[in-house]
């Protein structure tokens, strides 16, 4: 994982997205992002790690992090929906490996807006996205409080 900030990661993504003229291409890009996500192990696909969205199965798991000067959160995720998996990949890109406090305060909604994907957030009740974001932030908040 690089040491760039969530904002820099986000800018990269937005730039990538802006290269595409059509939604088909954007969705294809999103699906590809999802395909490049590191896979979850079978034990990580546990009930505890499951995020209850309405339609697709979503899992978010944290992975232990070797000691770093500033504690960071590494997480992985998966979904049986290709598009939701792409959205997890977006989250992963901007948040995973970042310091907990940065994740807690990061404006995911703003990013999805910039990517033109906020429709998926309003549909969050259907795809579990808002639950997913909450889960990541909760994991980060927990890690942060442990370190205080």
């Amino acid at each position: 994982m690089t040491t760039t900030t969530p904002e820099e990661q986000a800018d990269d993504l937005v730039e990538g997205f802006e290269l595409f003229d059509t939604w088909d291409d954007r969705y294809r890009f999103l699906i590809d992002l999802g395909r490049k996500l590191p896979p979850l192990t079978e034990t990580e696909k546990s009930e505890v790690n499951r995020v209850h969205g309405c339609q697709s199965n979503v899992w978010i798991a944290t992975r232990p992090q070797p000691e770093t000067p500033e504690p960071v959160i590494n997480f992985v995720g998966d979904s049986d929906s290709s598009l939701v998996k792409g959205l997890i990949a977006v989250l992963w890109r901007v948040c995973s490996g970042q310091p907990a406090e940065k994740i807690v305060s990061y404006d995911v909604e703003g990013l999805l807006d910039r990517l033109g994907l906020s429709q998926h957030l309003t549909m969050g009740r259907r795809n579990g996205l808002d639950e997913m974001v909450k889960r990541v932030k909760a994991l980060a908040a927990k890690a942060e409080s442990r370190n205080q």
Binding site: W23, D24, Y27, R28, Q55, S56, D80, S81, L83, V84
Partner: protein, 414 residues
């Protein structure tokens, strides 16, 4: 009773479409193909006009004042009830209770008839293809009373097993509540037979008519059902209004549902006596505009002709079934012999959610998910389906657009 004679014109879907202003719009730059009718239908201009006219010219509270507007509002509200009575062929207008929708109608029966007549060890029968709104109210009742919920099983085509049903019926059975037309599978159930068998045991039957009411010509006397619940918003009418039909002798014997204004005859702190039917079940200011809008919707579809609508939709279903069956990797969920207007399906290796999003970009609105019928999904071992559901204004061309959209999604997601 004076019967309005409504001329039936030959069915012309393009003319019908012109009556629905929303259908002319584009979404994501593509012409809207609205195939989520089982969730809610679009509204014809006649309904929009009726709502606007009511609020512009007649608005007042009903039953409560001597002034002209109130008199007019009351008359329109009660005329709407008569329109529903005729639509259902109910014996009397007082058998038509205004509700918020199907859900409230079912809850009303569970909480009044059910609480009065179902006790510990008694049984309530529903079916394996119920919408959550015809499961949960009965579960709540059974839990409260120590009663048992029995479920009529279905086969792999999504047809109820009537032999199983007959085995469930017995002296402990106190109520049967089944869906007339399934929103998740499209199955049209043999409700007349279900009712006949229940009546042999003296057991009343409620039909969940949320889907059937706008697809199937109805006659509650012919069906001999004891209760029939449906929603205005699925029948081209406004949201927030619905109907519970009940046989007068049953409704009369039932305790009231909610307490409040309009449902009382007299109130003192010592004792309240209740109003007569239908007002006994209509506490508080009703959705007056909704009732008037629903009547306008009923008049609209009656003028088109329920039989003509059913014929048109049968053609769409046959055409759509053939078209979808030709898509590689597509499996229809719900292949009953008797079906109407619902095409539920899954695609190999494609999540319904993804399909829904990609189709939306093509202007095609379908529904994906469990359709508030999780036990149905469990029965078929799936988590969700994609569902295209048709109404009177849909066309074969729109089904072609859907099929092209599915091919496109397969390319993109494959």
């Amino acid at each position: 009773m004076t019967q309005t004679i409504i001329p039936v014109l030959p069915f012309n879907v393009n003319r019908v479409r012109e009556d629905f202003p929303i259908l002319a719009q584009k979404v994501h730059g593509k012409p809207l193909v609205y195939l989520d009718n089982a969730a809610t239908t679009q509204k014809p201009q006649a309904v929009l006009d009726a709502l606007a006219e009511y609020y512009t010219e007649h608005n007042a509270n009903v039953h409560r004042a001597v002034h002209l507007l109130s008199e007019r509002a009351t008359r329109l509200h009660e005329e709407a009830r008569t329109t529903v009575q005729r639509f259902l062929n109910a014996r009397e207008a007082r058998e038509v209770i205004w509700t918020r929708g199907t859900t409230e109608g079912i809850n009303l029966v569970a909480q009044t008839y059910g609480r009065k007549n179902v006790g510990a060890g008694d049984e309530v029968i529903i079916s394996a293809m119920e919408h959550h709104s015809n499961i949960v109210p009965w579960q709540m009742l059974c839990e409260e009373k120590g009663a048992i919920l029995r479920v009529i099983a279905m086969n792999d085509d999504g047809e109820l097993l009537l032999d199983e049903y007959e085995k469930l019926l017995g002296p402990r059975t106190k109520f049967v509540s089944v869906v007339h037309l399934s929103n998740a599978l499209g199955t049209l159930n043999p409700v007349k037979r279900i009712i006949e068998r229940a009546h042999e045991y003296g057991v009343p039957v409620l039909l969940d008519g949320a889907q059937a009411a706008y697809h199937v010509p109805l006659d509650v006397q012919e069906l001999d059902c004891d209760f029939y619940a449906f929603s205005g918003h699925k029948l081209y009418g406004p949201t927030g209004i619905g109907v519970l039909y009940g046989k007068a002798e049953l409704l009369d014997a039932m305790p009231p549902y909610q307490g409040g204004g309009d449902m009382i005859r007299s109130v003192t702190f010592e004792k309240t006596t209740y109003n007569v039917l239908p007002f006994k079940f209509e506490a508080g200011t009703p959705h007056i505009a909704g009732a008037i809008g629903l009547a306008a919707a009923i008049n609209y579809i009656t003028a088109l002709g329920m039989d003509s609508i059913a014929d048109h939709e049968r053609d769409l279903l046959a055409y759509g079934t053939r078209a979808l069956e030709s898509v590689p990797g597509l499996r229809l969920v719900g292949t009953a012999r008797e079906k109407a207007s619902v095409l539920s399906f899954v695609l190999k290796d494609i999540h319904p959610y993804d399909l829904g999003v990609i189709l939306d970009q093509q202007g095609v609105a379908i529904r994906t998910g469990h359709h508030c019928a999780q036990p149905v999904m469990d029965r078929f071992g799936i988590a969700a389906t994609a569902r295209a559901s048709m109404a009177c204004y849909n066309t074969r061309e729109e089904i072609d657009v859907l099929v092209r959209g599915i091919h496109h999604a397969q390319k993109l997601l494959g």
